[in-house]
Amino acid sequence: MNIALLLEMAADAATDRIALVCDGKRWTYGELLAAARGAYELIVDSGASHVALLDESSEASVIALFGAALAGVPYCPLNYRLADADLAGLLGRIAPALIVGDAARVARLTPDQGHVVYPRAEFTLAAQEAVASDGADYDAGEGVAIQLFTSGTTAAPKAAILRHSNLVSYILGTVEFASAEESDAALVSVPPYHIAGIAALISSIYAQRRIVLLPAFAPDAWLKLVDAERATNAFVVPTMLSRIIHALDKGIYADISSLRSIAYGGGKMPLELIQRALDLFPDTGFTNAYGLTETSSTVALLGPEEHRAAHGASDPKVRARLASVGKPLPTIELEIRGESGEVLPHGQPGEIYVRGDQVSGEYREKSALDADGWFPTRDAGYLDEDGYLFLSGRADDVIVRGGENISPGEIEDVLLTHPAIADVAAVAIPSAEWGEAVGLAAVLRGGCDQPGDEELKELIRARLRSSRVPERILFVPSLPYNEMGKLLRREVKLILAE
C-alpha cells in the first residue's frame, strides 16, 4: 500500500480542513493532495531516479514526499548543512534526481549529472499548475518510499531505505485515523531529512492533526509559534528543549498553555533537563520516543503517565525510569543479545535487536536483517525487570580495555553528578598496555573552579571500579554535537588524540 493513500484518505474525509501551516500560508488536505498529484506529473516527466530535497521544511517538502510516492520514485531529503564535498558525494549517488531547493548549489557542485532542479517556490507553483493526466498510473506502493542517508557519526553515510510497507505498518500500528480534534496542531521543527521529521508529517496527516512547520528552529520563534497557532503537540530534540527552557528563564513571554504534549527523542536527554521540564510544565504530557531511521521512527516509548510516575516516585527503581526510553511498541519485538548472539536476561546489557513490519533494516547496498528478520541496531542497552528499556550508547562506542567492555554512558553519568562538570564524553584512546583505555573530554560549568584530575579519578574509582578510571582528562570549551544533538564521538577521539 502506497503511503500517498494516507493523504488521499485524509483528503477524502476532510478536503477543506487545514492540513499544514508554513510561513503564514495555510494548506488544506485537498490542496496538498492536488499539489502532490501535480508533482507526480513533474517527476514522471523528468525521468528522475530519485526525488531529492535540498532545503528546509516547507509545503514543498510535503508535496515532494507524496508526489514521489505516487510516482514510485524514492524521496531522498538531503542534509543541506553538509560540507560541499560530502554533499557532492551524496548527489552523485542519487543521479539523475529531481531536486527541490538550492539550485545554485547543485549547479556549482554537480553541473553534469543530469539533475532537474526546481527552487522551492517554482516547484510548488509548478506542482499546483500541473494538469493531472487522465488515468494517471499511480504507483502501487510495493517498493521504496524513502531513502535517507544516515548521519554517519561513526562512519560514512549509509543509504537507508524505507519501503511503503514499513511506513504504512508504522502509521497503522501507532496512529488512529482522524483521531485529532480540529483544534489540534503539531509543531514540527526537526529537519526534513531526519526520520522524526518525516514520521511527524505522515503521522499528523493520518491523524488529521494540523501541521505547523517551523523551518529553522530558534527558541523564541518556537515559543511564538506555539502561542500564535495554539499548538497542542510538539516534537523536540533535547538541545531544543534546553534552549526553549533557557529562553523562558530569560523572561521571553509566550502563552504556551495550549501545549498538551511534548515528545522528544533523537539524542540522549540529560536527566536534569527532563526533571526541570516536568516541573516547569506540570500540565504537559511528555513522551520519550526511541527509534532509528532503519526502524521507520519509534520502536519504544515512555509515555506521559510513566514520566509523572517516575518523577514523583520514592522507589529508586521507578524513579530511574525517567532515564529509560520506556517499553517497546506492542507491534514490534525487541531483544537484548550478547556477543555470540544469545538472548540476554533482564538486567544484562547487550546489543538491542528489533523485529517487526515497520523495521526495514535495509540499505541500498544490502540488508542488515538476520535470517529470522531481526535488525541489530548497534545500540547498546538493557531491559529492567519490568521491561523498561535503558540505552547505554552505540555498541561501536564501547571501550574495550584489556578485554573488558566499558560503556561510556556509565562513566559520563557519574561525572555529570560532579557540580563543576557541565558536559562530558568518555571515549576509547589507544593504550599500549590495555589496547584501549578511557579518555575524557569535559566541559567546565561556568563560575566553577576546574577540579583536579585526581579528584575526578577518585570519583570514578569510588562509584564504579578502577578499570573505568580515565587515563587522560582534557577540559574543552564545548563538545562537538551535530544539529540533532547527537554527540560526535569520532571528533572527541580526534580532540583527545591531539
Binding site: 500500500m1 502506497n2 493513500l5 488521499e8 484518505m9 477524502d12 474525509a13 502501487a140 506502493g141 510495493e142 510497507s165 497503522l172 500500528g173 501507532t174 496512529v175 488512529e176 485515523f177 482522524a178 483521531s179 503539531a186 522524526a196 514520521a199 511527524a200 503521522s203 493520518y206 491523524a207 492533526r209 503537540n233 516534537f235 504534549s261 515528545a263 527523542g265 504530557g285 513522551t287 520516543a289 521512527s297 519509534t298 516509548l301 509515555g303 506521559p304 511498541l329 506492542p330
Partner: protein
C-alpha cells in the same frame, strides 16, 4: 489478491486495502469484493452494518486484515463471516 490490493464493494461505496490475506473470499454487503468492483448488486440486509473509514477489520484467526479507505453501508466479511474491528491500544503521539 495480495497485500496492497485495493478492493471495491459491488453492494455499496466501501473500498478497502488488503493489509494481510490468507485463503477465502473477501466480501462486503454480502457480495465478493474485487479490484474492479463488478456489477452493482443489492445490499444483503444481513451484511448491512456498515464500514468505517480508517478502521482495520480482521477475522478471528487473524489471517485477513483490511483497511477501510472509503466507507459504505455494507459489512465486511470473509467467506460469509463478518469481520471484527481491530482494536489497537492508543499510543501517545511520539513524533
Amino acid at each position: 489478491m495480495k497485500p496492497g490490493s485495493r478492493l471495491k464493494s459491488s453492494a455499496c461505496d466501501t473500498e478497502v486495502v488488503v493489509i494481510r490475506c490468507g485463503s477465502g473470499t473477501i466480501q462486503c454487503g454480502g457480495a465478493a469484493m474485487s479490484e474492479g468492483g463488478g456489477d452493482a448488486v443489492e445490499l444483503n440486509p444481513d451484511f448491512a452494518g456498515g464500514s468505517v473509514m480508517g478502521k482495520r477489520y480482521v477475522d478471528a484467526a487473524g489471517t485477513t486484515e483490511l483497511l477501510c479507505v472509503k466507507p459504505g453501508k455494507g459489512s465486511l466479511a470473509l467467506d460469509g463471516t463478518v469481520l471484527v474491528l481491530k482494536e489497537a491500544k492508543p499510543l501517545p503521539a511520539s513524533d
